[in-house]
């Protein structure tokens, strides 16, 4: 995509206040809409599926008006779109831009992929250490099983 086209597209969907989530893998935006609970809300949400990207080939992009993300939400995005960039927009200006980064250790967010794990049988909050951010691989604190991207079930 030329910079001119990119600029035009950006202007078409320009938002005054809110969040732009860029550089998501193609079709990951659907999952992000779901995990942020955007469907059925009043927020103005703009979704771009399969946009051209020099870095990624095709990418998805999501703009959400009047919504700033919590750290926990950003961590959830990192599970499905490890290269995603978050742009925080205030008064039409980008005030913050960063790439999501899954913490080295965290609780919740996903289920352990081991069906024999204690977290699958009892009310035990899941807890992981990050083995790899991309592709995502998480080690369960309890059973040590490593769950990989494609097997990941989000909570």
């Amino acid at each position: 995509m030329s910079s001119k086209t990119a600029e035009r597209q950006y202007k078409v969907f320009r938002i005054e206040n809110g969040t732009v989530i860029d550089h998501m893998p193609h079709w990951a935006a659907r999952q992000v809409v779901e995990l942020l609970g955007l469907a059925g809300t009043d927020s103005l949400v703009t979704v771009g599926f399969g946009l051209q990207s020099d870095k990624m080939g095709r990418k998805d992009l999501l703009k959400v008006e009047n919504r700033e993300l919590t750290q926990q939400e950003i961590n959830r995005i990192a599970l499905v779109a490890p290269q995603a960039t978050i742009n925080l927009i205030r008064n039409g200006q980008t005030t913050q831009k960063f790439t999501v980064e899954l913490p080295l250790e965290f609780t919740g967010l996903a289920r352990c992929g081991n069906h024999g794990c204690i977290t699958r049988a009892e009310n035990v909050p899941t807890r992981f250490s990050t083995v790899s951010r991309e592709p995502v691989a998480l080690r369960c604190h309890y059973c040590c099983f490593v769950t990989r991207g494609s097997d990941l079930e989000l909570l």
């Binding site: 081991n114 204690i118 009310n123 035990v124 369960c140 309890y142 059973c143 040590c144």
Partner: protein
Amino acid sequence: MTESTLQVDLRGRSLVSIKDFTRDEIEHVLATASRLEGHRGTELAGRQIALLFYENSTRTRNSFVTAVHHLGGTLCGFDSAEGTSVQKGETLYDTIQMFSAYSDAIVLRHPRDGSARWAADTANVPVINAGDGKNQHPTQTLLDLYAIRGTQKRLEGLTVAMVGDLKYGRTVHSLSDALAMYPGNRLLYISPSSLKMPAEQLTALREKGVELSEHENLEEVLPEADVVYVTRIQRERMPDETEYEKVRGAFRLTASMLRKVKPSLRILHPLPRVDEIAPDVDSTPYAFYFQQAAGGVPVRKALLWLLLGIGETP
């Protein structure tokens, strides 16, 4: 006792995975076990150990029972979930809270992977993992190390052959991790191709500098080995009966295969054995599996001694 082990203090700690202990801490447990061989005392008088066995176990449970008796402690708990509040639907968390109040330490065997870590995180007494599903069984690893050190007089510079079900065999995985803490060990893995060591663990072991190799012929590696660690191949792990019969024969150790081995070779097995070691091996000088299992008592005495902070050994 070496200078480094003098500084080891395991009071109040839990043991969930062998990796929870450093090499010095493992050494300290083994040295303590050695001093407690044959020891009978009252050091645990007035203290109670909860044995919470959600699954049946013969050796592990009875060696803990024996260890507690040898130190004069009392026991509470259950040896299967049947007939307990567990059957009424009590959670592991609730059971652990109760037994934390009744006892000074909890020994837990549970069918769920990761249950022991959850218990250790939420109990306010030390928790010893006596097997959590297919995950960890660290006291078995300690007694395996105790047997190796007892027979070879060292835990480094050894060639250890591990035979059988290397894919699902948790004892093999933990023993490999433990031997990787010591320099110069060579690990030889002998298994049918469908039951090989998980690739991820092999990579992790190589990264630690362990020299390892994979084989499908048991007899050809025997002359090099200082220790042969045999495990059972379970019928349910094999795709069909024909394959099981084939594998069962190929990975069976018999006395006639031991003609060219080192005189110091010792054969270990976590037990129970089915027929992967022929009975004619029992009377050779290389068989050590029954002595190995007997070592479970001093090793578990040592663990209770150290985690409960009894103090100087006799």
